[in-house]
Structures are given as structure tokens and as C-alpha cells.
């Protein structure tokens, strides 16, 4: 039940962030779907492996692929769809803990959290990279077919 609520909320969160960065109205719904898809993958992988890193990689990958499909359907740039979808993955909690511990003088703990933030960011970038490669290969194949 919490999972379903969480996925429904991720749709809302993505659409709302889309409004904040002013993406075209027509794209909002698809954007929310991509975001919910990404978050569902994140929750699923996290439940299976109990690891955050793999979940981030897979989720970023799913968002990249979803954004590619949405971009193709609407004939709009890909970043419209993957920026809002990415927001739930941002390691806000860890970044907050890092800041908190730096402010309180616990530098060791703070650096540990900072490393976690960096690793999660790298994991997301990694997932994106793989999705990007597939997207490029796919577009190349697809445009060749059309000619």
C-alpha cells in the first residue's frame, strides 16, 4: 500500500517540478509517467537488493529510456522529461546530514556522508550514460529505417 501511494506521489512530484521549470503543458503528463516509472524501478531494486547504489543506477537508466520514448512521441527535447523525473533521486537526505555534521564539527561523519552523496550522483550519471548510449544507437537505427 505504501508503495502504491509512493509511486502515485512520485507522479505528482515530477509534474509539480515540471511546472517549476516551465516545461510545455502538453508534456506534463508524459513527464509524470516517466518520473513514476523511474521511482517504481528504484523502489523495486531497493526492495530486492537492499542497496541504494544499484537502485540509483537502474532508476536513472529507466528514466533515460522513458525520457527517450516520451521525447520521440512528443517530438520534444529529451531534457524536458528527464530533469523533473530525476528530482526524487537527488540525495537530499545525505547532503543534509553532511551539512549538519560539518556545522556541528563532526567532520569525519560529514565527509562520510559527502562521499555517499558523490557516489549516488556518480551512480545516477552512470545510469544516464548507459541510457544515452542506447538512445543514440536507437535513434541512429530508427532514422536509417525511415529513409
Amino acid at each position: 500500500m505504501t508503495t502504491i501511494i509512493s509511486i502515485a506521489l512520485s507522479y505528482l512530484a515530477t509534474v509539480a517540478f515540471g511546472i517549476l521549470i516551465n516545461i510545455p503543458r502538453k508534456a506534463l503528463h508524459s513527464c509524470g509517467l516517466v518520473g513514476a516509472f523511474g521511482w517504481a524501478i528504484y523502489l523495486a531494486i531497493k526492495a530486492i537488493t537492499f542497496g541504494v547504489m544499484l537502485a540509483n543506477v537502474c532508476s536513472a537508466f529507466a528514466i533515460g529510456i522513458g525520457a527517450m520514448m516520451a521525447a520521440q512521441r512528443h517530438r520534444m527535447p529529451m531534457i524536458l522529461f528527464n530533469i523533473p523525473s530525476l528530482v526524487p533521486l537527488v540525495p537530499g537526505g545525505q547532503a543534509y546530514r553532511a551539512v549538519q555534521n560539518f556545522a556541528l564539527g563532526n567532520n569525519d561523519l560529514a565527509i562520510e556522508y559527502l562521499i555517499q552523496v558523490t557516489m549516488i550522483a556518480a551512480a545516477i550519471a552512470m545510469g544516464f550514460l548507459v541510457a544515452e548510449i542506447i538512445a543514440q544507437a536507437y535513434f541512429k537505427f530508427w532514422t536509417k529505417q525511415k529513409r
Partner: protein, 248 residues
């Protein structure tokens, strides 16, 4: 009156400027500019773009121009529209003159969401993410208050002053103070969750994503510039929050 080559360079630079100002990734900017130039009949357009400026030349005609890009904001609707216009031009649905006029019209007016709907969106982002991260349902009121206040201050400062990073700092400080007051008065339970969720609408999502995409695409200069921008915004948010920890 401009001759044809000057008109081409003008149009291409205008398209690029709008896209960079609105927060597009560099690959798309480059592709769009090159598409316009090639569709206009330039065989070998030379275009160099960074987040702060564009240089374009047509080697065979000895024509070149520089276009500095001074301000950057986030408006992805404009990115989508410039993209659509460039495609229409490439498909010969628009003439060069019409393309130039359409682009110029774009710099003046593009539909934006009203402040009220943006504020509502900011509150929704904060509240939904707080539940998704495992916050208490009882904290929703405090989260809505914190994220709403933070976003209001952020956008008011941005509208009236040119104060990059300062607006983020003050907004984060407001959010932290609001959260602290809410927890002290018993209106909220988890200080951490309220602050984290309240900050989410201000997360620099566009610079982060673009930094990664630019770096991967080989636009090293732009990627580093965007990365630093994202880092500075994050640092401003962090400093704003850090101030209150002394008074816990």
C-alpha cells in the same frame, strides 16, 4: 538591410542564445544551430558555443559574429519552441525571415505558469517528496508552510534583484527557521524531514542534469561550468541551513 549571410548568422545566433539562456544542454544547442545553418544553405558552418557565449562563422563567405550570453535562467518551454521552429525551418515550412521573426517573438512572450500555480507546485513537490522519503503524514502542514515560504522568498528575490546564490541562501535559511519554529511549537515532528522536503523545490535539477549530459557529450567547458553552478547553488542551500544548527 542585412544581406543573406548576415541574416543567417543572426538567426542562428539568436536561436542559440535563447536556448542557452533557457537552460538547454549544449548538444541540443549545437544541433539546432547547425540544423538552421545547413538548412539555410551554409555547407560548412563553424560554430563554437559555451554557456557564456557563441561564435559562428561561414568560412567561404568570410562572415563571422560573436554573441555573448550574459544571463541564464530556466524556461524549458522556450527550448522546446526553438527546437520546433528549427525543425519547421529545416522542413521548409518557414522562410529564413519568418524563422527570424518567430525567434524574436519568442524572446518577448512565452506562456509561463502564474506565480500561484508555481507556488502550489513548489508545495506539492515538498509534500509529496517528504512522504516518499518516509516522513510523517502529520508533518505535511509544516512541510507545506516551509516549502511555500521558501519558494515565495526565492522567486521574489529573483524577480526584483540580480542576486544569484544569495536568493538560494536566504530561501534555505527561511525554510530552516520555519521548520525549527514549527517543531518548537509542536506543529511538526521531524525537523530533518521538514527541512529536506522544504528544500527540494530549490534543488538545481537543470544544472546538474545538463552538467552530466554536457560532460558525456564532450562539451567539457560547458559541463564544468554547469557543474560548478550546481555546486554553488547546493553550497548556498547548505550554508543557509547550516546557520540554524548553532541554535538547536
Amino acid at each position: 538591410m542585412l544581406n543573406k549571410n548576415e541574416m543567417i548568422v543572426d538567426t542562428v545566433l539568436l536561436a542559440g542564445k535563447i536556448m542557452i539562456e533557457s537552460g538547454s544542454d549544449m548538444t541540443r544547442v549545437h544541433d539546432t544551430m547547425e540544423r538552421i545553418a545547413r538548412s539555410a544553405g551554409v555547407v560548412d558552418p563553424r560554430i563554437f558555443e559555451t554557456t557564456t557565449g557563441i561564435v559562428m562563422s561561414i568560412p567561404t563567405k568570410k562572415t563571422a559574429e560573436v554573441q555573448p550570453v550574459l544571463s541564464r535562467s530556466i524556461d524549458l518551454e522556450k527550448v522546446a519552441r526553438v527546437n520546433a521552429i528549427s525543425r519547421a525551418f529545416a522542413n521548409k515550412e518557414l522562410s529564413l525571415k519568418e524563422t527570424h521573426e518567430n525567434l524574436q517573438a519568442l524572446t518577448l512572450a512565452v506562456p509561463v505558469f502564474s506565480f500561484r500555480s508555481q507556488l502550489l507546485a513548489a508545495i506539492v513537490v515538498g509534500c509529496t517528496l517528504s512522504i516518499m522519503y518516509g516522513g510523517y503524514w502529520g508533518d505535511l502542514g509544516a512541510t507545506a508552510l516551509a516549502s511555500g515560504l521558501g519558494f515565495t522568498i526565492y522567486s521574489k528575490i529573483n524577480r526584483h534583484f540580480r542576486f544569484r546564490f544569495g536568493s538560494e541562501f536566504i530561501a534555505a535559511f527561511t525554510i530552516a527557521v520555519t521548520a525549527l519554529l514549527c517543531v518548537r511549537s509542536g506543529f511538526g515532528k521531524s525537523l530533518d524531514m521538514i527541512i529536506i522536503a522544504g528544500l527540494m523545490p530549490l534543488v538545481p535539477g537543470v544544472p546538474i542534469t545538463n552538467a552530466v549530459r554536457d560532460l558525456l557529450a564532450g562539451h567539457i567547458l560547458s559541463g564544468i561550468a554547469r557543474g560548478i553552478e550546481a555546486l554553488l547553488v547546493a553550497a548556498a542551500l547548505g550554508t543557509g541551513v547550516a546557520v540554524i544548527f548553532r541554535y538547536l
